[in-house]
């Protein structure tokens, strides 16, 4: 079971939905915000955030930590993250198990790491620094990837598990990213699920992607496909009632359509939990 109680079923907060959320107060249990959009204390983004925060629990999700990067940790960024967290009091803070650039450049992408002992040591040390600074455990999310480095010595899930155990951090498991990476790297998605330490998984992401003949690209701009729903069901079986949210970054749909997709997650999650409970009764 996750270490914090489940928040239920959430959505990624997008500016296109600010008005609809405040006007209709939709049946969403919580929202995940992209931290980088709210680092400046003011303007429209913070104006809406304050109002939405009065009604919904929030979690913070970042893209610029570059926890696997080899530039020094960006202290200014961490200070801004901490200041935002002090203001909006998120239930937790997450970022990605990746690197985003070196030599001061931000490539604005979540780039994969070689799965090596060197990388594990490097990242464990940085996660500890970040957690000490923020005064809380962080969640790391698995990214979807298209390349494997020749130097990799283990599977992605072994790499993720080792870092989280050694640094004592938590996991944001992106179900779609597992599906996409499994296609791109020829492994079985179920092996990934079974290789992840159960007690560390704090949150799920669900999203859509683009399928090509021999590979898939994580675009976060499409509906969730059936194999991802199936994998989600397996994930709920293994990890239990974990906070679940749907990410949609591009091709933003009306809130209502996303609510329907969220209801589907609720249904699958609810039924799976229910039948698990019965089978253990």
């Amino acid at each position: 079971m996750p270490s914090l109680p489940s928040l239920g079923y959430g959505l990624g907060l997008r500016k296109e939905h600010y008005h609809a959320i405040l006007e209709t107060e939709p049946n969403v249990d919580w929202f995940e915000i992209l931290s980088e959009n709210y680092l400046v204390a003011g303007g429209k983004p913070r104006f809406f955030l304050e109002r939405i925060r009065e009604r919904y629990p929030l979690v913070m999700h970042g893209v610029s930590l570059s926890i696997g990067g080899t530039d020094p940790l960006d202290r200014d960024y961490l200070k801004q993250i901490k200041a935002l967290a002090d203001t909006i009091e998120p239930h937790w803070i997450s970022d990605h198990l990746c690197w985003t650039g070196v030599e001061g450049i931000n490539l604005h992408d979540l780039l994969p790491l070689p799965y090596t002992e060197e990388a594990i040591r490097h990242i464990v040390d940085r996660v500890k620094q970040v957690q000490d600074f923020l005064g809380r455990r962080i969640l790391l999310e698995n990214v979807s990837s298209y390349i494997t480095y020749t130097d990799s010595q283990m599977s992605e899930w072994e790499f993720l598990g080792a870092i989280c155990e050694q640094a004592d951090c938590l996991i944001l498991l992106d179900i779609n990213n597992i599906h996409v990476s499994a296609l791109n790297h020829d492994f079985a998605a179920i092996d990934y699920l079974e290789g992840v330490p159960v007690e560390r998984v704090q949150q799920f992401h669900l999203a859509g992607h683009s399928d090509y003949t021999n590979y898939a690209v994580d675009t976060h701009d499409a509906d969730i496909v059936q194999p991802v729903w199936d994998l989600y069901e397996k994930a709920v079986e293994r990890f239990g009632n974990v906070s679940t949210m749907i990410e949609r970054d591009d091709n933003i749909l009306p809130l209502e359509t996303l609510l329907n997709e969220l209801d589907q997650a609720r249904r699958i999650g609810g039924e799976t939990i229910h039948s698990e409970l019965n089978s253990h009764a």
């Binding site: 980088e36 959009n37 680092l39 400046v40 204390a41 003011g42 303007g43 429209k44 913070r46 104006f47 610029s64 696997g68 990067g69 080899t70 960006d74 960024y77 690197w99 650039g101 070196v102 030599e103 001061g104 450049i105 931000n106 490539l107 604005h108 992408d109 780039l111 790491l113 070689p114 090596t116 060197e118 990388a119 490097h122 298209y146 390349i147 494997t148 480095y149 020749t150 130097d151 791109n184 020829d186 003949t213 021999n214 590979y215 690209v217």
Partner: protein, 268 residues
């Protein structure tokens, strides 16, 4: 043996994205159905597309002026020259106006740099931190003997004034309203434009006459009211100066541009 440290791998991958460097190819694995080339292509293409999109978001009017192809060429050249150093991609593109003004391909169309300058200022005003403006009452509360040493602290949303030789703002308005295109025109007199955000979260802009522009600039640089009155002698008769200067201050407070008044012994 080549350096295969984590850092070396990241440098090789980054140079593949920014410069098309091929060293990374020997450090990754391909499969028959999904070649190294296709795999890297996903990253290199996404890298450029993401930054081009970000520039398009920030500079819709420059995009309209140049058309799709022209804007793509500009964005690509800019990305190569100024890769992002920002945490938020929203801040990427800060030097586009200077880039346009200096680059041989675009410097002969100075309107483009002006438009970029204007659009970036709009974004700067929109994104700036929140503030609490003073009302005009604050001016009335200043005792007469403190006026000479009076200084202003301006709203964080107030942008560097823009100096335009072209009808860039009119063009921007036409593009923004999606109304019929109007022709670019050189102005008879250069204009100074002020851009800021009010407390209703609206981005505002207006042009200034030359004496107000000078007074605003001087006060932004920390000069006091007495110095402003001295300087206004350039444009006005002695007996009109004080009223004109006080009128500027009044207007700036009404515009929600001022967050603090410092007088006398308070140093700026």
């Amino acid at each position: 043996m080549p350096d295969r440290s984590l850092r070396a791998i990241q440098q090789a991958m980054q140079q593949c994205l920014t410069d098309g460097d091929e060293r990374i190819r020997s450090l990754i694995v391909g499969t028959p159905g999904f070649s190294i080339e296709t795999r890297l292509g996903i990253y290199t293409e996404a890298y450029r597309l993401r930054l081009i999109d970000a520039l398009g978001d920030a500079y819709p009017a420059v995009h309209t002026l140049l058309g799709d192809e022209g804007f793509h060429a500009l964005a690509t050249a800019y990305i190569d020259r100024h890769p992002s150093h920002f945490r938020s991609i929203r801040w990427f593109g800060d030097r586009l106006a200077t880039f346009l003004a200096d680059h041989p391909a675009w410097k002969d169309t100075p309107l483009l740099a002006e438009m970029a300058r204007f659009e970036w200022s709009l974004r700067g005003a929109f994104d700036a931190a929140d503030f609490t403006p003073l009302t005009t009452q604050a001016l009335h509360d200043v005792p007469p003997e403190h006026w000479a040493g009076l200084r202003l602290v301006f709203s964080p949303t107030l942008q560097e004034p823009c100096y335009f030789n072209w009808n860039s703002v009119k063009l921007w308005q036409a593009i923004d309203a999606e109304s019929d295109p109007i022709p670019p025109q050189r102005l008879a007199q250069p204009e100074t434009w002020l851009i800021w955000r009010n407390t209703e979260q609206q981005t505002r802009f207006r042009s200034l006459l030359v004496d107000e522009a000078w007074a605003m600039n001087s006060m932004r640089q920390g000069q006091d009211f007495a110095a402003i009155c001295d300087g206004l002698g350039e444009w006005l008769d002695e007996e009109h100066i004080a009223a004109r200067a006080a009128g500027f201050l009044h207007q700036w407070l009404e515009d929600e541009l001022v967050v603090a008044i410092e007088t006398g012994n308070t140093s700026p």
